[in-house]
């Protein structure tokens, strides 16, 4: 079980965390990974200036709607 934390603070929200959450949910649904990956929200992680902050296994990624799929692969790859 992997836990992916997505920042939903002010800055990340403006940078599109709503869309990133939607996109991630979609990917998880499509690949039927609901039992393996869990999405949780988090307030500010202190990485406000680099895009939507997404954390998994202590690594913080800067995610946008464009690279969300790529990052998701990266996270899964590190399993």
């Amino acid at each position: 079980m992997k836990t992916i934390r997505i920042c939903v603070g002010s800055s990340c929200h403006v940078n599109g965390s709503y869309k990133v959450v939607k996109a991630l949910n979609q990917i998880i649904d499509q690949r039927e990974l609901g039992d393996e990956v869990e999405l949780v929200g988090s307030f500010c992680m202190g990485k406000c200036t680099e895009g939507v902050a997404v954390e998994c296994d202590d690594i913080i990624y800067a995610v946008s709607v464009e690279n969300v799929e790529e990052i998701f692969e990266k996270i899964l790859g590190g399993k």
Binding site: C7, G9, S10, S11, H13, S17, G41, F43
Partner: protein, 387 residues
């Protein structure tokens, strides 16, 4: 502890008029709350000027502790005379409630004020004063918790003439309508909005006269404490815990970093509730022991918009039903508290310094300040505690 005056007013303009010929002036200071409702003769710009002059002069003079005779004389001497009717004329109702719970009511030619206590309409002991051949009625009464004072322009009791009702509805019927609303434990705003809406419908959506209602409801104080923004000095984080532990009423945290600090100091976890996420407002979270946890600046901005809409656009209570942080916060601020203790930190979020960040959001402080001004304008007490 002085009681809280929940004050609200609503108007609709006479059909095809851009300006309202009625005006409500509210003054709030340390000694008293003054509400003046004036109805200028005629309609449109002339009536608007008469009503605005009357209400502003009366409110200002009373605020400066002038006697009521001086106020009447000044009004008489100041108001321009109507060129059609050769009269200077604006009817008005003045209500001044002092901190010691004494209410002073002065009525001139508006429909009588409806005073509700313990589920009944109370007959006021009005004292007649003669002023230049006209009768002005004066009442002094001690107020109690739960009292409602509703007063309105004659547009209310004329509503429906020639449309749904032959002679409009009478004062008794309008008063009964207000009485019925009062049983529903509503806020002043709900009552004024309901009455004006009903009049608008009785007029067939084409009001034959400017219609204005002002309502004052006497309430007990209810507190809420909001922690918004982390302190500049991180060593003060522990003080936040102390402040929140002895906070009055509901506890609210606005701001992501603020939420993290509170969770850390209390040894609790922040759990984000994705079901409250929307495009406009980031989701809320839960921390054990805190009643509401929201994101900061974006939520506050939306909260301000909702409160503004509710106060000015007669959009009703549905606006608070939406499942997001801003609607929940707005509901608490507007409907569930009278006194707000705001714990403000001075720290600046680096994200808000980002030039790409929407300009209207560059400082949370500015949004917060607007919210404070709005709350104070409706007589809510806001105490700011800087940390």
């Amino acid at each position: 502890m002085p009681l809280f005056m929940d004050i609200a007013s609503d108007s609709v303009n006479k059909v095809h008029e851009e300006l309202c010929g009625d005006n409500v002036e509210v003054r709030i200071n340390d000694e008293s709350v003054i509400v003046v409702l004036a109805d200028g003769m005629g309609s449109g710009v002339k009536a608007n000027i008469l009503a605005t002059l009357t209400s502003t002069i009366a409110a200002t003079m009373l605020e400066e502790k002038m006697g009521i005779m001086d106020v009447l004389e000044t009004l008489e001497a100041t108001l321009p005379k109507c060129s059609v009717r050769h009269m200077a004329y604006s009817t008005f109702t003045i209500v001044q409630v002092f901190r010691n719970r004494m209410a002073y009511i002065l009525e001139f030619d508006n429909p009588p004020l409806v005073f509700i206590r313990d589920g009944e309409i109370i007959e006021l002991e009005r004292k007649e004063i003669e002023f230049q051949g006209k009768s002005v009625y004066e009442t002094t009464k001690e107020i109690e918790k739960g009292d409602i004072m509703a007063f309105f322009s004659d547009g209310v009791i004329h509503a429906g003439i020639g449309h749904l009702l032959n002679f409009g509805w009478q004062w008794e019927e309008a008063a009964d309508y207000i009485l019925a609303r009062s049983y529903e434990n509503k806020k002043a705003k709900d009552i004024s909005m309901a009455l004006v809406d009903t009049c608008y419908n009785l007029y067939g959506e084409e009001p034959g006269d400017d219609t204005t209602v002002a309502v004052i409801k006497v309430e007990e104080r209810k507190y809420v404490t909001i922690f918004s923004g982390p302190p500049l000095d991180q060593e003060k984080d522990a003080e936040i815990k102390r402040l929140l532990e002895r906070a009055r009423g509901k506890k609210i945290v606005c701001g992501g970093t603020a939420a993290n600090i509170v969770a850390r100091e209390f040894g609790e976890e922040v759990k984000v509730d994705f079901s409250t996420m929307s495009d406009r407002v980031p989701p809320i979270a839960t921390i054990k022991g805190i009643d509401l946890v929201t994101e900061g600046v974006l939520t506050l901005q939306e909260t301000l918009r909702i409160c503004d809409d509710y106060m000015n656009n007669r959009c009703g209570r549905e606006i608070f039903q939406e499942k997001n942080g801003a609607a929940m916060l707005a509901n608490i601020l507007m409907n569930e508290c009278t006194t707000i203790d705001l714990i403000m930190g001075n720290s600046i979020n680096p994200a808000h310094q980002n030039p790409d960040f929407p300009e209207e959001l560059t400082t949370k402080w500015r949004v917060t300040q607007k919210l404070i001004d709005m709350l104070r304008s409706i007589n809510k007490e806001v105490n700011i505690i800087y940390v």
